[in-house]
Symmetry: C2
Subunit: 350 residues, 2 copies
């Protein structure tokens, strides 16, 4: 039999952040696709839409009028999944029917007054304003809440219900599953090795150089070895920062530059306004702010669904929901494609 | 402040099968939806499509010709994610870059010769043939493989790439994440309580009667207390069966009847061919066949994406991917709606 070649032969890879395995089946790239095709997302919106409740000066369904904002704009979600004041559920010791208390708040943050200004076509200066507002919000909300989740759902295929460029900030009194599980895996690693898992991981990736998409002195973007989504990336702080509000002035500017570069590459991959969900993960806050968080490294994850073209996505269904994630192309193949794309010139300007 | 009411006030619920929490925000049902709308899935296909590689007598892309099958028909997937013979990846002790071996096989199983015969419009007798073929396949494949996953992706929005009614069977040498985590939670419960988690759970649901969708002496269908998807259900064996091939003759017929009843209810909910991913979970097989599996109960899970109508689905994106699952309507509200729908008369015949 031939010797093992990861770009040809199926295998499992381990995600040390959650203890789960991914099935990699690179031979399956040849499969024809006769399933659902997505509408190609094109950024051809007008700058201003008087019916869009995220635009400057528009009156939202609840009667509030947006200011004529000129940079970012933040407001509390009109239909939040998390409210601040709700009655406490009763305590229960029943192992099969456990309820727990949830308090929180949800905010919406517009990136720019113009509806057609997505991150890849904003200037680094404008994205830096977004970073600054993330830090402001985080400073305020992290005092009260254990977890402050900044995330962006981009594109209709990622459930984004409003095309005006924006992100959301959902804060909670509880430690949500994903970061809680990550926290415990990183803590265990730290106890064993005395170093932060993602600090070590970034160093190893910089040495191996097989999965790097972007690097600069402050940041590293890789397709993680254990990526689930076809073109998933992780943006890791190289300065052992624990949270977004640890960033220095120059790290904030270089973060803005990396975000621009990565999102230009993404748009260039299939020549479309590339859909994804992304978000930042850092050490927990609220009453965990002063706990020992040496095991944390500030980072972002990008989960983009597209697989083969602007209209053919990966579906996380069936086997993925019932058993485990399966991917076709390898992390190395995805990284190579993203690395080789321009990160300075957007396809719409080529 | 008002006292806690689970159909009004946000709270968390615990899934004892995987140790994860779900955020329930029933007040959010009022949210307007301006996002992506799915094409309504209507079962208006012709009985036979000479270009569909799953139809009887059609030649598949690999040159093989399907027989003129008259009931079920099984073949090995032409583009399988899992192959039987592949070289072994090298061993690695590196905690950050772990690879493991994966062997397996993927089969496709057509339910019926006619492309417009989905499960809800097949007769119980025809569905019983499907159950029998599942058992045949399981008997054969469970000898060799540790895990035999029978699953159905139904509908384009669940990534189904061929409209002819069919399921898939993916078998693996490894224990996939979802059932492996479930196995360990059920085992722990058994060690503590001396009873199987899902046996106890079914009894409690039959007593509480708040989340029941269908019941008969052999089977219970509930919207689980910890449901993630809006109209998720779990079909549980009431006879302490561990695997699909433990079923008696009459349990196989009553399983066929329950599947018909549940899928009719699903189609009737939004008057469409209701999309979902479903699959069976039972005790592991291969060299775990004779291990102690007292903690297992044979069951199926249904994960349907639709939320409000035939065209508005729940997106598991952003907060769900980065933090944890959020749902709007409660499990009890979903169960009540499904319970009250006809399970005998399909909307197309009303
Ligand atoms: O095998 P199919 O139907 O072509 O493909 C579908 O089901 C598979 C198993 O759940 C998934 O991995 C694919 O993403 C999905 O599109
Ligand atoms: O808040 P939106 O954009 O209306 O809604 C979207 O993002 C939320 C947070 O990820 C999800 O819970 C919804 O399912 C999704 O449609």
């Amino acid at each position: 039999m031939a010797s093992f070649n990861p770009t040809e032969h199926q295998h499992l890879r381990y995600n040390p952040l959650n203890g789960l395995w991914i099935l990699v089946s690179p031979h399956r790239l040849l499969r024809p696709w006769a399933g659902q095709e997505e509408a190609t997302e094109i950024n051809d919106r007008p700058e201003f839409d008087p019916t869009n409740p995220l635009c400057p000066g528009v009156t939202r369904p609840n009667g509030q009028k947006n200011p004529q904002y000129t940079s970012t704009f933040v407001f509390t979600n009109d239909f939040p999944a998390l409210l601040e004041d709700v009655p406490e559920p009763p305590q229960s010791n029943d192992p099969l029917f456990q309820t727990a208390s949830a308090k929180g708040t949800c905010r919406v943050m517009c990136f720019h007054p113009k509806s057609n200004k997505t991150l890849p076509v904003m200037s680094v200066r404008e994205i830096r304003d977004v970073v600054d507002e993330w830090v402001n919000q985080f400073n305020e909300l992290s005092k009260k809440y254990l977890w402050v989740q900044i995330f962006e759902n981009k594109g209709q295929s990622m459930g984004c219900s409003n095309p005006h460029p924006h992100c959301q900030i959902w804060c909670s009194s509880f430690f949500p599953n994903e970061p809680r599980v990550k926290d415990s895996h990183m803590r265990e690693y730290y106890q064993k090795h005395g170093t932060a898992l993602l600090d070590d991981y970034a160093k190893r990736e910089l040495h191996q150089r097989e999965r790097i998409v972007i690097e600069n002195p402050d940041w590293l973007v890789v397709v993680p070895y254990w990526a689930s989504w076809p073109f998933e990336t992780m943006l890791i702080s190289r300065n052992q920062n624990k949270r977004i509000n640890d960033l220095t002035d120059s790290q904030k500017t270089s973060l803005a530059a990396v975000i621009k570069e990565l999102t230009i590459k993404y748009d260039n991959l299939f020549k479309c306004s590339f859909p994804y969900s992304m978000g930042f993960h850092g050490a927990p806050t609220g009453n965990l702010t002063d706990a020992n968080n040496s095991h944390w490294t500030f980072h972002a994850v990008y989960y983009p669904p597209l697989l083969r073209s602007a209209s053919v996505r990966k579906f996380m269904v069936g086997y993925e929901l019932l058993c485990q994630t399966q991917r076709d192309l390898t992390a190395e193949q995805a990284a190579k494609r993203l690395r080789e794309l321009s990160g300075t010139k957007h396809y719409s300007e080529m």
